[in-house]
């Protein structure tokens, strides 16, 4: 337990330091600060990976909200590092990691729930895959929303003709739109698969009233919202601001959907 706390604190400090350097680089362009920030993010990601690997041997991770949010934060760091490797986007890396850090910090300091009273029923591979996919989908939707919000900021600045440092830091609107769409496209099949696996598991374990459960209804609404977004984009009916706003709304629905399982309105409540 002591070792775990030590690892949590180390991750938080490294992550905070990384964000600090990333922010310093955004304010005053500095290659050394940028490299330090990236190195710290890589260090955070590696410690998280090792930690998840150890938890995997200990018991199936993602069984507690703590594990799941830890995994979510890991996915955010991994994806932003990948994005930064493919296209250099300092502002995106900073914004997305700010979300990842906030989730991790709240998780460590507020919801440090490491209860071992896991239901025997939950200890099945099916649930493991179901929860993993759901959180990967959440990570993809989070990044998609980050891109959409940055799009809206960029659009606002360009419309207001405000040529400032923030606008200069932003990637192009077309790029933001493309990446936002791309991450929605990745998140959608992940969430769908998670739902299908979850339903199969629920039927196997004879959970009644499945289709009236707020979490199931919430998840279906999220799927519907993202389905509309993807369809309208694919048909080229929506673009620009409209698409970005819809993305933000869909992500808010995702947050509400997550909140349902935290509050215990659903059979989905964490053990």
């Amino acid at each position: 337990m002591f070792a775990e706390r030590w690892v949590y604190d180390l991750i938080i400090y490294l992550y905070a330091l990384g964000l600090l350097f990333a922010f310093a680089d955004l304010l005053h362009k500095n290659r050394r600060a940028n490299q330090l920030a990236l190195s710290l993010f890589i260090a955070v990601w590696m410690i998280q990976t090792v930690f998840i690997a150890f938890r995997l041997f200990e018991l199936f991770p993602l069984m507690t909200p703590f594990d799941s949010l830890f995994f979510y934060s890991w996915a955010i760091v991994a994806l932003t590092l990948l994005i930064n490797w493919l296209y250099r986007m300092d502002l995106v890396v900073f914004s997305a990691n700010l979300v990842g850090f906030a989730v991790l910090a709240i998780n460590f300091f507020v919801a440090r729930d490491t209860s071992r009273h896991l239901s025997r029923l939950l200890l099945s591979e099916l649930v493991f895959v179901h929860v993993t996919m759901a959180f990967l989908a959440y990570a993809a939707f989070s990044l998609s929303a980050v891109f959409a919000i940055l799009y809206l900021i960029g659009d606002h600045l360009l419309k207001q003709k405000k040529w400032n440092r923030l606008l200069r830091l932003l990637p192009s609107l077309e790029h933001l739109q493309r990446l936002s769409y791309g991450f929605s496209l990745i998140g959608m099949p992940l969430l769908l698969s998670a739902i299908i696996l979850g339903v199969i598991w629920a039927y196997q374990t004879n959970i009644g009233g499945l289709w009236y459960d707020p979490k199931i209804i919430g998840s279906l609404i999220v799927v519907l919202l993202y389905a509309i977004l993807l369809y309208q984009r694919a048909k080229q009916r929506w673009h620009g601001r409209r698409l970005a706003w819809w993305n933000v709304v869909s992500f808010l629905a995702t947050l509400v959907n997550y909140w349902i399982s935290v509050t215990g309105f659903s059979f989905h409540r964490w053990m």
Partner: protein, 459 residues
């Protein structure tokens, strides 16, 4: 040994003088070599661009260096001194170093932060090296300057923001599109700024261009210039459908692109539409900007961006000026440590001579020693010498960078009784020659100057 800059730039000399006193590319090599062989001058580099002409020289005395540099200009260009001396600036030592650093960073340029000058100074230096007109001082100074220039541009935003209307349009375009390849530029009209803007988009990767003009002949002429497709103005609607970037600069009395026209083309596209209206009166209805995914910028908007960028460059220039001051200090420290080299050499020579004498004495007194035993003794006695000298050498270098360096180094030479060795060194070295070898050029720096029977150190 002094560093001197004699020259003028766009701020101090009119273009009529600059064009008369510009070094042609063909004659440049001959000029820099002749300058190097001018009396009193030991190293030379000439920087000659359309906005500046500067002679960088290392000279043994400032006033003679300045005099001969001016004479060289007078003779080379056959322009009487009286016609150009008032336009010249003379920078000496630290000020000259600071000036070179300021020039390479683009802070002395017409457009602050421009990067072209860095390449021009680098080329001038490399060519001077080829002509063997540089030595220890300029090899170090110019390399440091070029590294600083690169660092200034890499670590600050000095040269990153557009300072012309046409570049500002391209920079704005980069906020809409990640790249211009695959994008279609529609150029309407044949205004000069419009053509220049379109040219910049093309240079930045736009691979398709359509040219529309009221006069068909003019459209074809401009299109041929860009390798673009010419169309009559009647095909405006069709062309708008295909365009990603529209640059309009016609002489039309009113708007030729209306909100309705743009609204009609919008459903067919998903990527942003960028409209640049450089015409006065304007060619595009301003409320087009309100449409989703459409961005309209007119000449005033672009000029505001240019003004903001210039202000930003000024802010960044402050950071670069701080970097320059640090580099000037570093170079000064380096020059000061150069003066201590003969002293260290003398100390080492003296110590090794003692060691060698001792070895000979051992060999005489112990003739039965084997080769191997002698080798071991030689190695260990040398080790004693080196270990004993390590600290004094380090201290001597520190003294060389201190405020009372001349007195301190004199005392150092006195304590170790190095005067004789130094005198011998001085006598052995050939007298400061005009041959541009590194050794000869650096010689005055590395040799103490004997005055009135006393040893003094000057750099």
């Amino acid at each position: 040994m002094h560093i001197l800059v004699v020259g003028f730039n766009h701020k101090t000399a009119p273009v009529s003088l600059r064009e008369r006193m510009a070094f042609s590319e063909d004659e440049w090599g001959k000029a820099v070599t002749r300058l190097r062989h001018t009396k009193s001058i030991l190293e030379s580099v000439i920087v000659s661009t359309c906005n500046r002409m500067e002679l960088y020289v290392i000279c043994d005395q400032l006033h003679t260096g300045e005099y001969y540099a001016k004479t060289f200009l007078e003779e080379w260009f056959s322009v009487p001194k009286s016609e150009f001396v008032d336009h010249l600036y003379i920078k000496q030592n630290d000020e000259a170093v600071r000036h070179l650093f300021t020039v390479v960073c683009g802070l002395d340029s017409m457009v602050i932060g421009e990067t072209q000058i860095l390449g021009q100074v680098r080329d001038a230096f490399l060519k001077a090296q080829e002509h063997q007109t540089t030595g220890t001082m300029f090899n170090t100074l110019f390399r440091q300057a070029i590294t600083l220039g690169k660092r200034a541009h890499a670590e600050t935003e000095l040269g990153q923001n557009a300072v012309s209307v046409s570049y500002a349009a391209v920079e704005l375009g980069k906020k809409l599109f990640p790249a211009f390849s695959g994008k279609t530029v529609l150029l309407i009209g044949a205004g000069e700024t419009g053509k220049l803007t379109a040219k910049h988009f093309q240079a930045n990767g736009a691979d398709r261009m359509i040219v529309l003009n009221r006069t068909w002949e003019k459209a074809r002429e401009v299109a041929a210039h860009f390798g673009a497709e010419a169309r009559p103005l009647t095909q405006l609607h069709q062309s708008l459908r295909e365009a990603d970037i529209v640059v309009s600069s016609t002489g039309a009395p009113g708007a030729i692109i209306t909100r309705e026209m743009i609204k009609r083309v919008l459903p067919e596209r998903s990527s942003p539409l960028f409209l640049i209206d450089i015409a006065v009166p304007r060619d595009i209805e301003p409320d087009v900007h309100e449409l989703d995914n459409v961005y309209l910028y007119d000449i005033d908007d672009l000029q505001e961006i240019v003004a903001a960028n210039l202000q930003l460059r000024e802010q960044e220039a402050e950071k670069v000026r701080r970097m320059i001051e640090e580099e000037v200090r570093d170079f000064r420290d380096w020059v000061q440590t150069l003066g201590v080299v003969p002293l260290i050499t003398a100390l080492r020579e003296k110590a090794l001579a003692i060691q060698e004498e001792t070895m000979k004495s051992i060999e005489r007194k112990l003739p039965d020693l084997t080769e191997r035993e002698l080798r071991v003794i030689r190695k260990h006695t040398k080790s004693i010498v080196n270990q004993l000298l390590r600290d004094p050498i380090m201290r001597a270098k520190e003294l060389a960078a201190g405020p009372d360096r001349d007195e301190a180094l004199e005392m150092f030479a006195h304590i170790f009784a190095l005067e004789e060795t130094l005198k011998k060194q001085q006598a052995e070295k050939p007298k400061q020659a005009h041959a541009p070898s590194l050794e000869n050029v650096a010689a005055p720096l590395r040799h103490p100057v004997f005055a009135g029977g006393k040893v003094t150190f000057r750099s």
